[in-house]
């Protein structure tokens, strides 16, 4: 059993002059950046930068080509069918807001309803909550099964002729389980309901196939895939985009403008006003290439092995209280092993645990992870989340376990004094 990750040395943050002792267990918040990605971005910005899609000179044309090749690369990564379109956005949050405001909002009436699950990140809750509030419409919340995935039967009962969209996460950022999104799409399609899948936490698992899922929209952020922040993607099936008005208005999205009116272009560029985040797109493309070079088979095996080890180690600590009871060893499916675990430590607030872990150079997330209603549903205000990435190893999990023991002992021993 290797105690270190074969890919850890690709990440300069662990170098001797940076943070060699860092134990990073917060990849669900953002993945660390491999040198390949940072180098590609640096190289573009230093030697090739220009404003894409606008200049008539070669440098600009080259930047345009990089963006459009990037679009093809992302389409390939998502297994997007030919009859679909991809928009570069600032991230998952903007992608979801585009769909809420440009696809759903124009169809809203007082009778309409929108269905989400109870495990959504605020990014996939607030936009829907707001357009329902503005139109006095209903936001329906599909419950979870005891094992922490969306309850398909209950979801089916919530769909009716007035449902405009189902918006669910592919993988919950708190629970980590993979939702049966293809089944959700099948159910929704039978009732003529569109589906948006928030893929922010799923893309790092690889093997995303939007054609097989059958969703109308799929969203993700580059930084959850070892790319940079500030760059994301909105996939839209068929000709959805052509029926949607632009979201943010500005340069580069028009066919013709007069002082009185504007004719918008009919392509993904309609949703990419202003100057493109070319360097961000370069970073995303390089991240996809980097991961493809490693091979998704090896990535999945590495993360699955660690997930199983993490689950077993945490289960051995009786003072660790997971939000969802983990699956028994017999009922585990390697494909559905969560690469993150959210839990509480008996008698210690999550903030204190995170501070104590930080003092041992271990980075975890503590709080509600932008899923406050879900935490309230579990009767807690905050939890600790430990999430895995390529650079992690068994050694990191062992360090976490020791530090959790230390944290518990520090508070527990003092309780006895």
């Amino acid at each position: 059993m290797a105690t270190t990750s074969a890919w850890k040395h690709d990440f300069p943050i662990f170098s001797a002059n940076a943070h060699p002792k860092l134990c990073y267990l917060d990849s669900a918040a953002t993945c660390l950046t491999p040198k390949h990605v940072a180098d590609a971005m640096y190289h573009y910005q230093c030697y090739s930068h220009a404003n894409s899609h606008k200049g008539l000179y070669q440098l600009s044309a080259n930047a345009t080509e990089l963006v459009e090749k990037g679009r093809n690369k992302v389409a390939e990564f998502l297994n997007a069918p030919m009859q679909s379109e991809l928009v570069f956005t600032s991230g998952t949050t903007e992608s979801i807001n585009i769909v809420a405001n440009c696809f759903v909002a124009p169809k809203m009436t007082r009778d309409a309803n929108i269905v989400i699950s109870s495990a959504e990140h605020h990014a996939n809750l607030l936009p829907w909550q707001e357009i329902c509030r503005l139109h006095d419409a209903e936001l329906r919340i599909a419950p979870l099964t005891p094992s922490g995935i969306i309850d398909i039967k209950a979801l089916n009962l919530l769909l009716d002729n007035n449902t405009l969209i189902v918006a669910i996460s592919h993988v919950s950022n708190v629970l980590g389980f993979i939702n049966p999104v293809a089944e959700v799409c099948q159910l929704a399609q039978k009732k003529g309901v569109a589906v948006l899948v928030d893929g922010a936490q799923a893309v790092a698992h690889g093997n995303v196939n939007v054609a097989e899922i059958g969703c109308d929209f799929y969203t993700f952020s580059a930084h959850k895939l070892y790319g940079p922040t500030g760059c994301g993607v909105l996939y839209a099936k068929g000709d959805h985009l052509s029926h949607m008005p632009p979201y943010i208005l500005g340069g580069g999205i028009i066919n013709k403008v007069t002082y009185q009116e504007t004719e918008y272009i009919n392509s993904p560029l309609k949703f990419e006003p202003g100057s493109h985040n070319v360097v961000g797109i370069i970073g995303l493309v390089e991240a996809i290439d980097y991961l493809n070079d490693i091979s998704w088979f090896d990535i999945t095996r590495h993360i699955s092995d660690l997930s199983m080890y993490l689950g077993d180690k945490l289960a051995s600590l009786d003072f660790v209280k997971p939000l969802i009871k983990p699956l028994s060893k017999h009922s585990r499916n390697v494909q559905s092993l969560p690469s993150l675990v959210s839990f509480q430590l008996e008698g210690i607030h999550a903030h204190d645990v995170a501070s104590l872990l930080d003092s041992e150079n271990i980075a975890v997330r503590a709080g509600h992870h932008c899923a406050q209603p879900l935490h309230k549903m579990f009767g807690v205000h905050a939890s600790i989340r430990s999430s895995l990435g390529l650079y992690n190893s068994y050694q990191d999990i062992d360090r976490l376990v020791v530090a959790l023991n230390n944290a518990y002992q520090l508070f527990a021993i003092r309780e006895l004094e």
Binding site: I348, H349, A350, H351, D352, S355, L356, D358, S359, E360, N361, A366, G367, H368, Q372, H375, V380, H381, A382, N406, A407, L410, F411, R414, E415
Partner: protein, 143 residues
């Protein structure tokens, strides 16, 4: 690197273990709730103000050790203080948490275990929350 021992000093942990005013039943004249949206601390501060004085002070809620210890010190030191002097009195601990040494040393001695918090920027809000909620409470008379 900051150490756990540095943040969780004995005096602070004592307040966390045996918090003063936690879930204390009082005759409430003023109250307010506050939360730390980033991490989920929630606290309610309850006050009895009679004849221009803080006669009773209590707090409840789900919060971290830093927030709870800070609230406990607040309940200990604000009791029986005159409302007219409160603004001056609470400036000392709040300055200490913020790392702003504008107050006389003798007025901050009783809060010395809070001083370390200003070296942990992400935890400042945890320590400030009870005091901010107390300010809201005294401006928020219960009907």
């Amino acid at each position: 690197m900051n150490t756990a021992a540095g943040l969780y000093q004995q005096a602070l942990l004592e307040h966390h273990k045996n918090p003063i005013g936690f879930h204390k039943q009082i005759s409430i004249t003023h109250s307010a709730s506050g939360d730390n949206a980033v991490c989920g601390d929630e606290i309610t501060v309850e006050v009895n103000i009679t004849a221009g004085k803080i006669q009773e002070l209590a707090f409840l809620g789900d919060s971290c050790a830093i927030c709870r210890a800070s609230a406990s010190m607040m309940c200990q030191h604000l009791l029986h203080q005159r409302l007219s002097q409160i603004a001056t009195i609470i400036k000392a601990p709040m300055d200490l948490i913020n790392g702003e040494c504008t107050t006389a040393v003798n007025s901050t001695e009783c809060y010395s275990s809070l001083a370390v918090i200003n070296t942990y920027p992400v935890r400042k809000q945890c320590a400030l929350l009870p005091w901010q909620t107390f300010i809201n409470a005294i401006n928020n008379k219960n009907e």
